[in-house]
């Protein structure tokens, strides 16, 4: 039973009960006959309405006409059947619209005219009209109210749907953009555009752009000007004021012996949210009108930048999820099966017929052990991640020390991390590239030593992984591992160099990944 069926049934039942009560109290013989007629009518209307839902808009006017004929026939003696006339317009209002209500009410008027006025003696016409008119008007009103209420409910439903629809539109646009130009949604180049725009407006010599990362920390996305990295830090009262008010903050920066510098901190707003800041320094105080002009440009760019950052984050989350899934799959599937094969070989070895067979089986067993160890390390790789509190350096050092030790490599690790953090997505990609480089060294190089050097000066970072193994000679340049590293580097706009450990010809491989420009 659909909700409109249920509504039809309860409405009719309610009004029939009303009419029955009134008729029992005040009705005469005509009214009782009419009551039976209405009962039959209601039953037939319900049945027809259920059988052929498409005919609903014809059922109600016909029901109205017949109900009016039945109720009108009892006039002027008994007016107790008239309340039923509210039913057809009400239901028409809920299921169809204004036209259906008018049509149904019109049919009722026609029915009343035919049965009431023509069936009664002419001296009673005034009484008939007096009794019937209020009910006719009431039924029309009920119908129109029903139309209005139904419309309101429909609107409410549409509003809750609207947010999904706009999200869907945005996402499909993003997909199109991301497919067409992978650099179109690159936060770093967007940050450069913003800094260029501010520089042109203020004629500033240095500027910096910071974005808010997950932990609420401001992470630099770009610097412009050779002193920007040292002088443009974010811990000052201007930054704080700008962050609090979401408005530009201007001030004078007394920087020691050199001449007075004017500092501007501009908010990057996306809607009602702060996504970051632009800090700029200029020789002269900028005019308010210039600041206003720049803010118009910045507000536009900020939304784009926010979209790009969000897109990066979403992509990173999706990848992490997928890695966990793949790890589970390997763990529960192929790894266990090969491990159980190992136990089988152990059993065969125990029952070997002669020494030669036993040795062959032992060889097989050590191969299986090697494969399972590889799978365990792959699962470990897939599951390892950067903790939001510890940062790239500590994740990298944990990984390198553990994996290095497991594969008998002597690890030499140098970490040089600034107190500011890179964006989470960038940290993750850098860790993955380093993991891949370490894995390559471990698997193919037969090296004894592994040197890992990590230097982080956001937005600059450089990780170098070197080994003293047999070098790249054996590895195909199109190997899967190298391709993965290249793809990852491209994704964050980093440069990847793969080559000999040093120019003098000492064996070994060197993989270096660099992001941003070194400023210190």
């Amino acid at each position: 039973m659909t909700s409109s069926d249920r509504l039809g049934l309860t409405t009719r039942a309610f009004f029939l009960a009303t009419v029955l009560g009134l008729t029992l109290a005040f009705g005469d013989g005509d009214a009782y006959r009419g009551l039976v007629g209405l009962l039959l009518l209601a039953g037939v209307a319900l049945a027809v309405g259920r059988l052929t839902p498409l005919a609903l808009r014809w059922v109600l006017p016909v029901e109205g006409l017949l109900a009016a004929l039945i109720a009108g026939a009892a006039l002027p003696g008994a007016a107790t059947l008239l309340p039923y006339l509210l039913v057809p317009p009400l239901l028409a209002g809920v299921s169809s619209g204004v036209t259906a209500v008018l049509l149904t009410a019109g049919c009722e008027v026609a029915g009343l005219l035919v049965a009431g006025l023509l069936g009664s003696p002419s001296d009673a016409w005034a009484t008939v009209a007096e009794v019937a008119t209020p009910w006719t008007v009431a039924s029309l009103g009920a119908g129109l109210v029903a139309v209005w209420v139904t419309q309101l409910r429909r609107d409410a439903r549409r509003t809750s749907q609207a947010s999904y629809e706009s999200a869907r539109t945005l996402l499909s646009q993003l997909r199109t953009v991301a497919r067409r130009l992978s650099s179109g949604l690159d936060p770093v180049s967007m940050s450069e555009q913003i800094l260029v725009a501010t520089s042109e407006a203020f004629g500033d010599t240095q500027s910096a752009l910071f974005v808010r990362t997950e932990g609420g920390v401001l992470s630099p996305l770009g610097y412009r000007g050779h002193l920007a990295r040292q002088s443009l830090v974010v811990e000052d009262h201007l930054t704080e004021a700008c962050w609090r008010t979401m408005e530009p903050a201007l001030g004078v920066q007394a920087s020691g012996r050199s001449s007075t510098r004017h500092r501007v901190v501009l908010p990057l707003r996306a809607g009602a949210r702060m996504i970051g800041l632009v800090v700029a320094e200029a020789g002269t105080a900028p005019a308010q009108s210039t600041v206003d002009d720049v803010m118009v440009v910045l507000d536009q760019h900020a939304v784009r930048l926010d979209t790009a950052l969000l897109f990066d984050e979403v992509r990173s989350l999706a990848t992490t999820e997928e890695r966990q899934r793949v790890a589970r799959e390997i763990h529960d599937g192929v790894a266990q099966e090969i491990a159980s094969l190992g136990y089988l070989v152990d059993e065969l070895t125990a029952h070997a017929l002669d020494e030669a067979q036993r040795l062959r089986l032992q060889g097989l067993r050590s191969e299986i052990t090697r494969v399972v160890s590889e799978l365990r390390l792959s699962i470990f790789d897939l599951r390892s991640d950067i903790s939001p509190t510890a940062g790239l350096g500590s994740a990298l050092s944990d990984y390198v020390r553990e994996v290095g030790a497991r594969s008998g490599l002597t690890v030499h690790l140098t970490l040089d991390e600034a107190s500011t953090r890179l964006r989470g997505e960038v940290e993750t990609e850098l860790l993955r590239i380093a993991q891949e480089a370490v894995t390559n060294a471990r698997r193919h190089s037969q090296a004894a030593n592994l040197w890992v050097d990590c230097r982080v000066r956001p937005p600059y970072a450089r990780i170098t992984v070197q080994d003293d193994g047999r070098g790249l000679g054996a590895a195909r340049p199109d190997s899967y591992g190298l391709r993965i590293m290249r793809e990852r580097a491209e994704r964050i706009n980093a440069t990847l160099e793969i080559g000999q450990r040093d120019e003098s010809g000492a064996p070994g491989t060197r993989v270096a990944v660099t992001i941003g420009a070194d400023g210190a």
């Binding site: 529960d332 790894a335 159980s340 190992g342 067993r365 365990r376 390390l377 497991r406 140098t414």
Partner: protein, 215 residues
């Protein structure tokens, strides 16, 4: 010679082939008898209570929870039960997780079945100690301080500071400008959380960044 009563083993792993392989291995070792097999934490707990085995071998990833939960539950009321954690997962975290849960031994699934049996033997003899193949390395890794990490240049500067050289001396020795030397020094102070040279040197010695003997 009549053999002593064999030790009863309960195998908990959701992979049937693994259980089968281990069961055959325990049958070959004559001092063990497989009392039962379970494929989940709940089943493992129930069988351990019912069969009262001498040793429980459990996987870590189980369909209804982690094997370490099972270890904790079993250890809570069976102080003398031998418990061996057998896992496909690599990583020191896993090893220390097993140790902290109260396991008697930790074996990875790439090890031959003889290693599992050896671990089970160890677990039955001294259930309240802990044995694992790479325990020493893991301990060493855990104990190595993950304190301040200096760049090679900064380490060099720190060495010169410890020698007693001033800013000018360091700049001269390293062929850099005084301001560069100053930057390195302030960076070192920042990383070590030191306010002055004496403090920096003390912290560096304690963190193992400098050897005690004069360079």
């Amino acid at each position: 010679m009549t053999a002593a009563e064999p030790l009863s083993v309960l195998l908990v792993d959701d992979h049937e082939l693994i259980r089968h392989g281990l069961a055959r291995a325990f049958e070959r070792a004559h001092d063990f008898a497989v009392a039962g097999e379970a494929a989940s934490v709940e089943e493992g707990k129930e069988l351990a209570d019912r069969l009262q085995p001498d040793v429980v071998i459990t996987d870590v990833r189980l369909p209804d929870g982690t094997g370490l939960d099972l270890v904790r539950q079993l250890r809570a009321d069976k102080a003398e039960l031998g418990i061996v954690v057998l896992t496909m997962y690599a990583g020191d975290e896993q090893l220390f997780g097993a140790l902290e849960a109260g396991a008697s031994a930790f074996v990875s699934k790439d090890s031959p079945s003889d290693d599992v049996i050896a671990a089970a033997r160890h677990a039955s003899v001294s259930p309240r100690s802990f044995a694992a193949a790479d325990l020493t390395d893991a301990m060493r890794r855990r104990l190595t301080p993950t304190g301040p990490q200096l760049s090679s240049r900064e380490a060099e500067v720190l060495g010169l500071l410890a020698e007693g050289l001033g800013v000018a001396g360091i700049a001269k020795r390293l062929f850099v400008s005084e301001s560069t030397a100053k930057t390195h020094i302030s960076k070192i102070y920042e990383k070590l959380g030191a306010g002055n040279r004496a403090q920096a040197i003390m912290i560096a010695i304690r963190a193992g960044l400098l050897s005690d003997e004069p360079a």
